[in-house]
Symmetry: C2
Subunit: 525 residues, 2 copies
């Protein structure tokens, strides 16, 4: 596939007039062709006009049509072949095997949402039949289903160039809900974005859908993104990135004449609790598996274990010794972008210069540009409780161990934590009482609670919650990974006494679509 550097608006490809942005190969600093001309307000207006025009036709496609569309996108992405893998590794510095796995995950995710669309559970069909004889007043016929919110703006993430970018989780769930999608490409992987964007364009043409169902815009800086979120035709936003970027979009969305929901997945340090019995009986195994989780992918995961809590003592000292040995062997890995590398380095300098923080060890340093050197730091709970800077995420392979006086202090620290995507308990049978004391606090802090695993590795399934209280996300009532993500882009509508011919298909008598529903409050499968 020949890359053009153009904006993909509907089925058309357009040259923009803003400044040029090139992808940079982070492992070499090399500039990759072609340049991508930044779009602005004009491109946003064009894409939003098409999206609005496509909105009703798309949201009223049949379940089968929409599911087939999602499957066709997956096929079209697979049909790109190895050139996608090659371009993506060049743009991200990630190894080919990782990108191949991520392509599988991306296409699997699209197919999962196809099955979700077909099941119709997401419609939340509820039927309360008329009760004409009821006293003192009769009841009307009332029927309820979810409908799509309307056009959605999606901001591609840097750290999952396929699975959370142009055809990633936000796009897949919004399309599944029946929302047209306008993606703002992440400037770190514009070529990968264009390839995937063209795959979606092809799928739209093959499925005879209106062209406005999808557009892909490029823009440097914040101008294009702000214009997109401000446009009155946009009805919701999906974002994965920094806390500052996410909160800026939240403010823009709230300042609109009609405020809209923003689903921003932003910042999490993913506390891991090494409970006493587990720490004592599995010291070395925990230390080694911890460092493996920490170092994976240069730590560039939102679920990276950035905080470890344990009670001070011999077992913790032994854990730290083994972790120190393990981290020294961790090879330096290329980070995604020079910007991410710079932010990581600044975070490491800040921790290193903090007198209350002790450096417990670090990985290999390497000599190429943008290499992430893994770091492990230790501090005392007293210090942690009095230094808000230590709550901030350092995005990369860096973790901070908090030494607590006792379990009481561990509970105290836990209550002080901000919202998190995950919380992990390393525990054995002897730790059950402590785990039971921690659990209710963790439920209020995190979207996912794990026992005896590591938070990296987010399964795309029905029970997943990749979300959590602010600042982990802007909206703890939702998930951005897994099939429940579809609910972010829906709202309920009630139809009272509509004739059959006006009712949406799923709400008609005799349940023609065969969808599980509530009838007078009782579940009918």
């Amino acid at each position: 596939m020949k890359l053009t550097g153009q904006q993909l608006i509907g089925q058309g490809n357009f040259d923009a007039s803003g400044s040029v942005v090139w992808a940079i190969n982070p492992s070499s600093g090399e500039k990759l062709q072609p340049g991508y001309l930044s779009g602005g307000k004009a491109e946003v207006v064009h894409a939003c006009e098409l999206a609005e025009a496509a909105s009703v036709a798309f949201r009223t496609t049949s379940l089968e049509e929409r599911a087939t569309f999602l499957e066709t996108i997956a096929e079209e992405i697979e049909a790109i072949g190895d050139s996608l893998i090659e371009r993506c590794t060049q743009e991200t510095g990630l190894p080919a095997a990782r990108i191949q796995g991520e392509r599988g995950r991306t296409c699997g995710q699209l197919r999962l949402f196809a099955s979700v669309v077909r099941s119709g559970e997401w419609l939340d069909v509820r039927i309360d039949p008329a009760l004409p004889e009821r006293q003192p007043l009769p009841r009307a016929d009332l029927r309820h289903q979810n409908i799509a919110l309307g056009p959605v703006a999606v901001f591609g993430a840097s750290n999952f160039p396929l699975a959370f970018s142009v055809a990633g989780g936000d796009t897949a769930s919004a399309l599944a809900a029946g929302c047209p999608v306008i993606v703002k490409a992440h400037s770190a992987h514009p070529g990968t974005s264009e390839m995937v964007g063209r795959a979606i364009q092809n799928a739209i043409a093959k499925c005879n859908l209106p062209e406005g169902v999808f557009s892909l815009l490029y823009g440097s800086g914040n101008e294009l993104g702000q214009a997109l979120v401000s446009d009155p035709r946009i009805k919701a936003v999906g974002f994965t990135g920094s806390r500052s970027g996410g909160t800026a979009l939240m403010a823009t969305a709230q300042a609109r004449k009609q405020p809209i929901p923003v689903y921003a997945e932003m910042s999490s340090i993913n506390p891991v609790f090494l409970l006493p019995t587990a720490l004592k009986t599995r010291t070395d195994q925990l230390a080694e598996s911890f460092i493996a989780s920490l170092a994976m992918g240069a730590g560039q995961f939102c679920t990276n274990p950035g905080l470890v809590l344990a009670v001070r003592g011999t077992a913790l000292n032994n854990f730290l010794k083994t972790a120190e040995q393990a981290i020294t062997k961790v090879a330096a890995q290329t980070m995604l972008t020079p910007g991410i590398y710079k932010a990581y380095s600044d975070g490491i300098i800040s921790l290193t210069n903090n007198d209350a923080v002790h450096s417990q060890g670090s990985g290999e340093q390497g000599e190429q540009p943008n290499l992430c050197q893994s770091h492990l730091f230790v501090t005392q709970a007293n210090h942690f409780l009095n230094d808000e800077r230590l709550l901030e995420e350092v995005f990369g392979s860096c973790s901070l161990v908090i030494e607590c006086d006792d379990i009481e202090q561990m509970l105290l620290v836990t209550r002080q934590l901000e919202g998190q995507l995950t919380a992990t308990l390393q525990m054995d049978d002897g730790d059950l009482k402590t785990a039971k004391a921690l659990l209710p606090i963790l439920e209020e802090k995190a979207g996912r609670i794990l026992v005896n695993g590591w938070p990296t590795g987010v399964e795309v399934c029905h029970a997943m919650v990749h979300g959590g209280p602010f600042p982990a996300t802007s909206d703890s009532r939702s998930t951005s990974v897994g099939s429940a993500a579809i609910f972010r882009f829906l709202r309920p509508v009630c139809y009272q006494n509509l004739p059959q011919t006006l009712l949406p298909n799923a709400l008609r008598d005799n349940n023609p679509a065969g969808i599980s529903h509530l009838f007078d409050g009782k579940r009918m499968s």
Copy 2:
């Protein structure tokens, strides 16, 4: 029951130190005893501390315990007897029969939520079992359920002194979700509020629940409400009232260190479409039933039909003549408060002074204080499209008829409308084509669409949506009436590889609570 004028904080009753507020009998202007001393920050902190302390214990009560609690509240309200009806009619000017009906609705609503809690559907249980043999990577055991958000602030509404006040829909749904509730009483009916608040206090004592599950605060002006929404222990807000009041709370909630959801039900003019065939064949019946809906309860309903759209012509002229005759016979009715009467009068003056608006008729005037005189106005679509003031709700028995040139212009006007709670089609078979053209627009504008009824009268059931796009509400993804209202106060949590003993009851093996759930994405009833 003797009224004390005190703040009800947990099981305690406290004298506050702010200014005194008395209820005013709107039909006489008489001051009703006792005075209610306004609380402030100190009362908010006290109530929030108790709510936070009660939060885990309350959200982890069994389904049966929570359902019984809701039923006990209903019994305690009924046990107050006629003194509740008497006080409420004095405070609101509403007739006793209406208050009796509203008491029935309030207690029915609490019992409906009890049945909803027992069914467990609201937990959204999802189980994806471990797949240890899966290639290339095994899958962990993942289980999902909703949990309560935490303490909720509820602002009592003036126009439903029982059904949307202290133990109304917001409180019932938040308690059903497992959230402690702190109510700010509406200053228009403090005595009614105290009676119902004491009923909830009694139910808490009888059910042996922690006292912080409920508090009732009084405060004039915005100070107490703003302090409540700003308190970091409050995790969500339910509000029914004015657009200015709702948007102020939205801004406060977004400005917090941890932003929280606000469910504000604010402003709606509830368009009614008189489609040509129906208008021609049922002219007089439509006009008479329209005026009956408009005048009910002095028009003090959020679903009052404040806007009527029809195509200009003989049928519409005849409709207007009959409506004019009908409205002249409408007796003046006492409005809820002097403030509501003043706002209504200002709205009428503004419409009367608008040169592009014609007064089609008005009801009886009456001579007591705060009497609502019904009004019907007419304007042309061209004017309506160019005068944003005409989009504003005039809360009371007032409606504006828009004469359109043709169906095309009716569609144009419809596209310009803001978000609404309801939209109503008056249609016969000959109007099907027009209805099909309107329906997709209405789905994007309103939470509930009715055919051949009137929007007043909101059924409390499973399929109800009392919500809609901004400014009808602050969050179109939810309803404030009906059993789905419980979802406003919940968030999902995923449990990965937890031992059975740590799992919440509903997620354990063999489905001990017998709750409908998704197993590997498939519905199991």
